[in-house]
Amino acid sequence: MSALHPTTTRFRQNSREALANRNIQAAMSHAQSGFVAKRAAARAALPEFDAIRDAARDLKNEVLRNLGTYLEAYEARVTAAGGHVHWAETAEDARRIVLEICQQAGAKRVNKGKSMISEECGINDHLAAHGITAQETDLGEYIIQLRGEMPSHIIAPAVHVTVPEVEAEFRREHSHLDAGRSLAELPDLLAEARGVLRERYFQAEVGITGANMLVAETGQSVIVTNEGNGDLSQSLGRVHIVMASLEKIVPTLEDAATVLRVLARSATGQEATVYTTFSSGPRRAGDPDGPEEYHVVLLDNGRTNMLGTEFEEMLRCIRCGACMNHCPVYQAVGGHAYGWVYPGPMGAVLTPSLIGLEEGRNLPNASTFCGRCESVCPMRIPLPGMMRAYRAREFDRGLTPGAARWGLGAWRAVASRPRLYGAVSRLANFGLKLLAWGGARLRWMPLGAGWTDHRDFAAPPLGGTFQSQWKGPR
């Protein structure tokens, strides 16, 4: 899988493989409980949390209603500060723009803070194809870069990797270090990655970061990190490129503060991340540091097509990851099974929106609609409702598999005729009893292997359906 080569249509196969992969299973079960408990504690400690969620939702709705106005205001502020805004309609445009900036800067090396937009655009591969080395500096991104993988989570890219796997990777890659060193704990790994990366910060001409928000009022971009790697990436290079999708806009600094109050709490349970960095453009005369050039690449890549549709609310997403942390399907199969850049419930809506329903239609189907994602989403995005809306589009466009379509049609035909339904349900009741040979449960059912391969099915007791037994008032 890569951004350009999704495996979304193989979701079933991917998920079977992930379920059979011991490392993924060990890593996932380890990570989940931590995220859930921390968010719950953070929420409990802030009585106005739900009110802030409402405010965050409302301010983002305001942005989406007037997106053009806010983007223009933002661009004007960036330009006034000496920066450049580049509009990228597609991922290909973004790749071209970023490459051009790097080439003009004469860059051979690029340092990167964490950016899902750069993943969406496949920037690293594109730069590599043109002789430029992109170095990931976020620990999780560094790990998956060594493994040649995509992130499996939007804020914890290597959540599917176990500590022993990372240790093995580091021993292989960092062969210049003392072979007897201990790498058994996470802090050891973090310290080693820091040491290795520290030298590389000074070798890159360009730093690329993402943006958690873009502030229209001030023209600032905002990143939140826990490792400080984004700050080093962006301030030590001569050129800073911000890659952001255009819905990242918030109107004012005050609004940014509102979003920040729910972002870290929802993501990691922190009140705030260790670093929250506001970038206002290139270094001004008298500034002690900062980049000489400041570029913002604003990616659309299908997002404006979502405006005015039933999927518009997805554009409120602040990429906190809470929906996947609380999703039992995501927790079972991990992020790579989803087959593209964005996994979990948010990915199940975003993926078909951005790469099309034909490619992405498996994802909104892979949900029990348990509703836990919506219940924790800080932006109150109705994720299950939007997955259902994709199923409806799939059905309307005739993409629903034939057997399922037939089954739904048959069920409708039966259940819209009460007498026929009564006869069919009595027959089914009797048939199940027959199949169980008079016993209380079935270990196999015709057409029901998906069920009985894994569990028994309770046969009905004798006596017929409830409605056929009912003798009271109708």
Partner: protein
């Protein structure tokens, strides 16, 4: 038992209860009558949730219309399933939005309740006259919990059952992996989820699993029985109504 001005309640049986476990229907009737209602069972079919959740809006509309017609004229419609109740309460107005029946859908949604929350929140039931010596654990089915806010009501009523001890499982609010057609469309993922659930159930040392939705119960009971966990399963209303002559789900 019911007074002349007793509310007329229609029982929306649900397909699964109708076909697989009528005891849940009879237990519901008993509880509703004890709460002073007269109970009717109009001839009915399916609420349409399978169609709605599969993107078949026209099919869901057809079944919603059938249900609305069946449930006309009762003071309340009560459902022994949070999931089917949520379909009527939360989804019918959306399913029939812009259709001539939209107002009727809203009217039905307003009259419809999940049974346990109906007993506590509408009828003011504080406790039941039932007895069962067991150590039970309660699974919060997703729709009831998150769409309808059912959490403390079943626990409150279960606390009044003589001899019953309630042990909370870990992750009681996490989906069991049933999800309607999900469990047969994605059997391996569903199996992983229900395996986790069976482990959490067994971890309480309970000998009885209770929940408010037969779909989830069939899934969990099937797993518990396949794994030989020695935990029985019943719908919560069976215990509340003292209707425990019928053997537990999947047992003889």
């Amino acid at each position: 038992m019911a007074e002349p001005d007793a509310p007329r309640v229609a029982l929306l049986v649900t397909c699964l209860v109708d076909m697989i476990r009528p005891a849940i229907g009879f237990a519901s009737v008993r509880l509703l009558e004890a709460a002073g209602c007269t109970v009717h069972v109009p001839r009915q079919t399916c609420c349409g949730q399978p169609n709605w959740n599969s993107g078949d809006r026209a099919g869901a509309q057809a079944l919603a219309r059938t249900m609305i017609a069946a449930m006309q004229g009762y003071d309340y419609v009560v459902v022994p399933s949070g999931s089917c109740a949520a379909t009527v309460i939360k989804d019918y107005p959306a399913i029939l939005a812009g259709e001539p029946e939209e107002a009727a859908a809203r009217d039905l949604a307003g009259r419809t309740h999940e049974i346990v929350s109906f007993l506590t929140d509408v009828r003011g039931v504080e406790g039941v006259e039932a007895q069962l010596s067991a150590r039970a654990t309660y699974h919060d089915s997703c729709s009831g919990l998150r769409s309808l806010g059912i959490k403390e009501q079943p626990r409150r009523l279960l606390a009044s059952v003589a001899g019953l001890e309630l042990a909370e499982m870990e992750d009681a609010e996490v989906c069991c992996g049933f999800g309607g057609t999900f469990c047969v469309k994605y059997p391996e993922i569903s199996n992983k989820m229900v395996s986790n659930k069976a482990g959490n159930i067994a971890g309480t040392g309970a000998d009885l699993l209770l929940a408010g939705d037969l779909g989830c119960l069939l899934n969990m009971a099937g797993k518990l029985s396949r794994e030989g966990r020695g935990v029985s399963a019943r719908h919560v209303v069976e215990v509340l109504a003292g209707e425990t002559e019928t053997p537990p789900i999947g047992e003889a």
